[in-house]
Every structure is written in C-alpha cells, then in structure tokens.
Subunit: 355 residues, 2 copies
Amino acid sequence: MIRVGVVGYGTIGKRVAAAVGRQSDMVVAGVAKRSPDYAAALARETATPIYASDEDAVAAFESAGIRTEGTVADLVDRADVVVDATPAGVGAENRELYAETGTPAVLQGGEDADVADVSFNARANYEAAAGADSVRVLSCNCTGLARLLAPLDEAYGVRSARATLVRRGGDPGQTDRGPINDILPDPMGESHHAADVREVLPDVDIRTHGVKVPTTVMHLQTVRVRLDDPPANARSVRRTLAAEPRLMFVTGEFGIEGCGDLMDVGRDSERPRTDLWENCVFEESIELAGNECTLFQAIDQESDVVPENIDAIRAVTGVADAGESRHMTDRALGVGSLPTSPAHTAEVAPVDGDA
Amino acid sequence: MIRVGVVGYGTIGKRVAAAVGRQSDMVVAGVAKRSPDYAAALARETATPIYASDEDAVAAFESAGIRTEGTVADLVDRADVVVDATPAGVGAENRELYAETGTPAVLQGGEDADVADVSFNARANYEAAAGADSVRVLSCNCTGLARLLAPLDEAYGVRSARATLVRRGGDPGQTDRGPINDILPDPMGESHHAADVREVLPDVDIRTHGVKVPTTVMHLQTVRVRLDDPPANARSVRRTLAAEPRLMFVTGEFGIEGCGDLMDVGRDSERPRTDLWENCVFEESIELAGNECTLFQAIDQESDVVPENIDAIRAVTGVADAGESRHMTDRALGVGSLPTSPAHTAEVAPVDGDA
C-alpha cells in the first residue's frame, strides 16, 4: 500500500484524499491544513488523520477541538508520496521539504512548470513521470485539452489546435473573486494554457485564449482542431472520442444543455461532492468540416484533475503503467459511469463503412 | 410498509423519492415523469419503477430506451399515498385523480392553499393533517419561517414577526429565469409568504417582503421577531433554537460566511445531492435587544421541504405522531448531523443562571 500524504486540504486536496481512499493500492497517511474550518471538522468525522501546517496552527486546531497528529513535516515523514494541493506558489516553497526527505511529490498546475521535473497528464505522457522525483499535474483547463487532443492526435494527427476557454470567476465559496458582472479577456492576449499543454504534448501546435465570466460552476471550452488525416465524417470522430473513459458525452436529448444542467447531473448521481471528473463533451456540438473538427466541452474545475493526481501517484512510484493505472483509477472512482447520453453506447460500436 | 407514489420527478420529487427510500416504514412504489431526461436515466440506474405522465410520454420513454411501468394513473392505483411534486398548478389538476381513487395526497407549496384540506409544517401543525385526504407542504421559504417561529412562540410568545426573504432567481438548471443582473422587489409590496405561514401558525402576526437576486443557490432571510416574554440574553435564544434538529447553526469560526460556503459544506458532507435540509442559522447573527430578536438564516430551496414531505406522508396515514415522525425522518436522513459549529453542542447544555 502506498501511503499518501495530502498537503493542502482545499478544493483539490480534499477531493484527492477522498479518491486515494477509494483505491485498493493506496491509503491516506494524513492531510495537512492551515486552519480548523468546516472541511477539517468534516475530515475528523471520517477519521482522517489531520496535520497542521505549523506549530501555531496546531494550537488553533486544538482550541477548535480538532485533534492533530503533528505538523506537515511529520506527515511528510510518514508518507511514501506527497500530493501538494496548496495554493499556487506554496507548492514551490514546500518543494525543498519533499526533496530533503526524498519523498516523491505530486504538485498542481497552479505552480510554474519548473516546480517539478516533469508536467503530467495521464493520457498524454504518463511514462515521462516514471522515476521522477516530482511531477506537476496540469491545471483543470489544460487537463481537459490534453485528454481531448491526445486521442485525436493518435487517430488523425493534430495539425493545429485553437481553443477559447470561458472560465468561471471562482469556486462556489470564493465570494470575493470577480468578475461579478463582466466578461473579461484574461489575460489580454494569448493565454498560458497552450504552453502548459505543450509540456505534455510537445509536438502539438496549440494556441489559447482565456475569458472570465461571472459564474462559479465549470469552464466551457470551444475547441477547433485541424486534422492531418481527417476521417470521412463527424460520426467517426465521435466514435474515437467515445472510446475514451474520461471524455463523457452529454446531450440535449437527455435535457443537458449547459453547465447548470451538468451541475444537477452531478448532484443526481451519487458521486462524492457531485464531482464530474470527465470532460463533458456536448455531443451535438461535434462537427467536422473538411479537416476542421470543432466542439464544446465543459470542465469541472474542482474535480477533473483528481483522476490525474491518482495516476501521478502511481507513475512516480512505478507501480503500474499508464493503461493499468487509468483503468484502476477509473474503476475505483466510477469514471465514465454516468448515463448522460442515450447514443454513447451505440457510438462506441464500430460501424461498417465508416472511415 | 407505506407504498409511496411520487408524481413529478423534478427538483423536489427526486429528493422526496430518495428520502422515502431511506425510511424503514415506507417504500417507493414508483415515480411519474413527463420526459425521458437525465433524471430518468439516473433513476433507472437505481431500479426505481418509472411511470410516464401519459400514453404519449410512454412512447417517448420507450424511444429513449427507458422502460416504464405504465402511466401516472397506474402509479396512483398502486400507491397508498401520493406525493405530488409537479410544477405549480399541475397538482391542482391532478387532485381529482387522487380524490377519485381515494388516495391521500401530499401536495406542494407552489399550489394555492385551497388545493388541499390543510397546509402543513411538521413542527407547527402536524396534528392538523391527521385524517386529511390531502395536505399541502409549505413552500421552502415558509417552511424555514415556520420551523423558526414555532419554537420561539412556544418558549417566549411571538408578538410579531417581520422577515425579508432574499431569494435566488432559479435553481441551477433553470437558465432562462431572471434576474440576471438586478435586485427585484418581488412582489412589489408585501409577499404571500406571511399568509402561508399563518396557515400553519394562525395566531402569529407575521408580514414578509420578497426580493429576487441573480444567484441559483439558497434563499437568505433576515428575520426580526418581537417576543412577549423575552429571555435575559441572546444566549438563551440560541439554546432554545439549538434544541431544534432542523435548525442548524453555522458559524464564521468554521469558515462559513455565506451561501457559497454552505454549498461547499453540502458537497463535503456525504449527503445525497449535497442537500442541506435544515435551516442554516448564522450563529453570530443572533441578537436580542429588549424584546426584539433578530437573525439571518439561509434556506436550501431545493431540499428543506423534503423532511416535511416525509412527515406529511406519516401524518395523513396516521402511523406516527409528530415527535415520532420527525425523529424517524431525521434519524433516517441524518438531519442535524453536520459539524458546522464548534459551539453547537455546548450551547445545547443548560447553563445555570440563564433565564
């Protein structure tokens, strides 16, 4: 059993800890946190060992009646692997502690690329993480792009990819982030996402723009891909994509027409925290005109990187190859299990005469 | 076992069906639905018997690959009690069917008060529903008010209650409802909520205003109550309210400062659909100045009426009294179980010298 320490117990950290708990080959050594809030109180209910960020924090937890097992240094000492899900920039500071103790570390896409030996996506470059001391899981939007582009590149060759990422302003509890009534170019010009995707798919010509809007649920991406060797029709593209467990087709036939509906699907399913770990690909939006394939996909910014973090743990410890790990992760979590499209199953089956 | 038919499988209906499934003394006879959407597809996964609203709908379900057991008339025929959670106005149309077959019916607060023999709140007037052919569960906001005012009235006498209900524009999937960037008096003047609360607490002098804002999560109420016989201090009020399982204290000490945080609490808990069935009373907001007690409470518009629907089923079938039913419902669902305030437990214990 791989003992996993989760440092940072916010949006990503608590989801990764819960996902680790559902794997048969790993166990949560503990979670480290800065403040004794409701997330800590709920973690206590599940008997998760809690560590404080430092000695001052230990005292704060104690006065809130929440027992801790020590500080983050103690947790790192007791873990085989650390997943660092602290706010952007803190991971870079923690990196030294992991290096000193020789503990392999999985960091997040909010950090700069040079925080780790290699950037990581389980579908695009799992093998590159073998034997690395540290890996950086791509951010939510970039994870969504890599999952889509890797199979398209394998099947048809991606000549170029252009995407606009319409991004939620903040997570549900991040009340003081904007915009509150605006549509913002962010940044003003090409966005960093393209460079991050190239970290895991170095040969893909990709460019991206980001836009921020006043919602708290999901990102919506428009993706436009030119293919080297396009198939005869969009149906073949759909079949290629439908074979990917982490691409979930959603359809207006089942009443799913936007991110609000997807949020409700998440709640109607029995998933932890109503998470949608898969890219939600709007089936009706998939079009092919000549060599140009276009589609919409929605990305749950809070949860899509969770399966990739689990795979990254296996990659750095060398216990499974890419296909094995993704299969174990998906089965343990239930990735690809939601009935969000009546056509999905049928589309997976080969059709005679399709290119 | 009480066989419960749920007619209307939207926001409320699907939650009531799930809650019925968790009770030891009732079972879901089936759910009736108009269209074969994702909610139907997910219901099929849990082996819930599905009925279509009419013969045309049966065909639509069939072509979507979702098996139905008949129409709503068949479901009513096979149920001991019906919970009608159809859109406002449809319950009034369905009422005749329930009366014809002599099936007791639980309707929702979106209907006019005269749709049923009696309006219902499990804390305020459970006994009034005994032997009724039909009851109407108060709407979400009114349920929240009745739960708060009933214990205050018992403990101190409510001389008058004034409330402003700041209401979300729509549920997460209701994309075409407004306002999208406005704060609307709605209605322009006193709101109907006061009259609805008087249906279950007829002696209470209450007046209400409603305001609509561009969010999809929760209502926030400011409540101002003048007491006939006020206690010595706000701490006593807190103790009185803390004894009510359906009033959940939430606090900034645990990082809960608004509805976005509450949404995240719901997700971090393991509740179905992340529902917050309780009134979420902001502990720090409870004040007492002379005989005037004030507070903020947030109401999950999608789920707070669910426990009341379960109790209403027991009330019309006469299988339990108010205290028994509320206890059974709360225990089966886990109402009152979340650690959202470090002080909650301490506050429940009597304190010497308090009035």
